[in-house]
Point group: C2
Chain length 201, copies 2
DNA sequence: GGTTATTATCTATAAAAGTAGATCGACACT
DNA sequence: AGTGTCGATCTACTTTTATAGATAATAACC
């Protein structure tokens, strides 16, 4: 297979995984059959340009042709955009974590948790704040916050609350074992700093 | 057809034209049949990724996927790379023109030209120096220079010399009618400045 | 007018993508 | 053990690309 075609397949798979989508998820969103996505990502088909454009669009990517002489500069732009995005998501996730922990601490007396369970949840949130987090990670944190708010307002749905805490534990386990370019937890901004310098364009 | 696929077709055609290649030329270099190149450039086929990679490679382009959020920055890089390349080619072309005119002026007494013809050639060279010129344009100028050198050394091949001057006239006619983003001859660097700040990486 | 070059269009054929599923092995969870 | 999810592989069929030319329309040149 041509050099370049393999790279495209790798970029597609990485982008899908970065969005925490399975092949079946991507199939549902893009309309391309899961079995075909599997072949595409393995480089087992020489896909059509329109199919590439469609999948790329679903993954917030754009197919383009750049002069060979501009490739290093373009790769640098792409890398720094990814890093900026990662940094931004991590900073936003820190805010989400802070909000969640404050709400838990403020309402600890009325939450259906033993002191041991409470300490464990707080420990998990503190640990999470030391890892780079992604947009899908943030969704898990936000979902737990919403479930907590709902519980605090109607004192119902204990199972949902327990499930939300379980998902947080899952998240902590996943990010702790996530492959990383550096060993151990990465230095991120000090936990729980709050600033408003982020724009969502 | 999907937005994006049309753009790719347009980029391919523009890149081919920028290199002064015909569809037959590109076919010979790339191995893709001319009739198929015609369909591709018209957007009449949904070509395979491997075919796109192959054509792009022949045109010194690389197929890549960039995050949608990075597209404006990437387009800016591509534009400035093209401008730098254009500017560089134009500056190098000025040198070629200068060298050619000096050689003609220095040897005007032994060239088989009437005073009127000589003045016309010099006029054409001066006019050319006011236009943005491309790499293929430079090849025409360099070819004329070589033919002139050959003639000066063996005093033969009058037809080739006349043909070389004719090609220069053709070039002058083409660039004078070339579509441009601004009206009239574009301001380029002052004619015949000589500096050695160009690197060919 | 004749010739040449370029791009577009046509025919016929072979190969492969794309589709629609089903199914399998591996893994995780209850 | 049973169940669900994931990615990979399989079957069968339809549609399209890619190829190899040939040819036509247009434009430019002599």
């Amino acid at each position: 297979m041509l050099l370049g075609v393999d790279r495209i397949a790798t970029i597609l798979r990485n982008a899908r995984e970065k969005k925490s989508l399975s092949q079946r998820d991507l199939s549902a969103v893009s309309g391309v059959p899961q079995s075909h996505i599997s072949k595409i990502e393995k480089g087992a088909v020489d896909l059509r340009l329109s199919s590439l454009v469609e999948l790329a669009r679903t993954l917030d990517l754009e197919v383009t042709l750049v002069p060979r002489s501009a490739v290093p500069a373009v790769q640098s732009i792409v890398r720094s955009t990814a890093q900026a995005s990662d940094g931004k998501q991590t900073r936003l996730a820190l805010k989400d974590l802070h909000r969640l922990e404050q709400t838990i601490t403020r309402n600890s007396s009325v939450l259906p948790l033993t002191p041991k369970e409470l300490a464990e949840v707080q420990q998990q949130l503190r640990l999470l704040s030391h890892f780079p987090l992604s947009e899908p990670d943030r969704k898990t944190i936000q979902s737990a916050y919403k479930t907590l708010q709902t519980h605090l307002s109607d004192h119902k749905n204990l199972n949902a609350l327990r499930q939300a805490f379980a998902h947080l534990k899952d998240l902590r386990n996943r990010v702790a074992h996530r492959p990383s370019t550096v060993s151990g937890p990465q230095p991120v901004r000090p936990a729980y700093t709050l600033d408003e310098d982020d724009d969502d364009a």
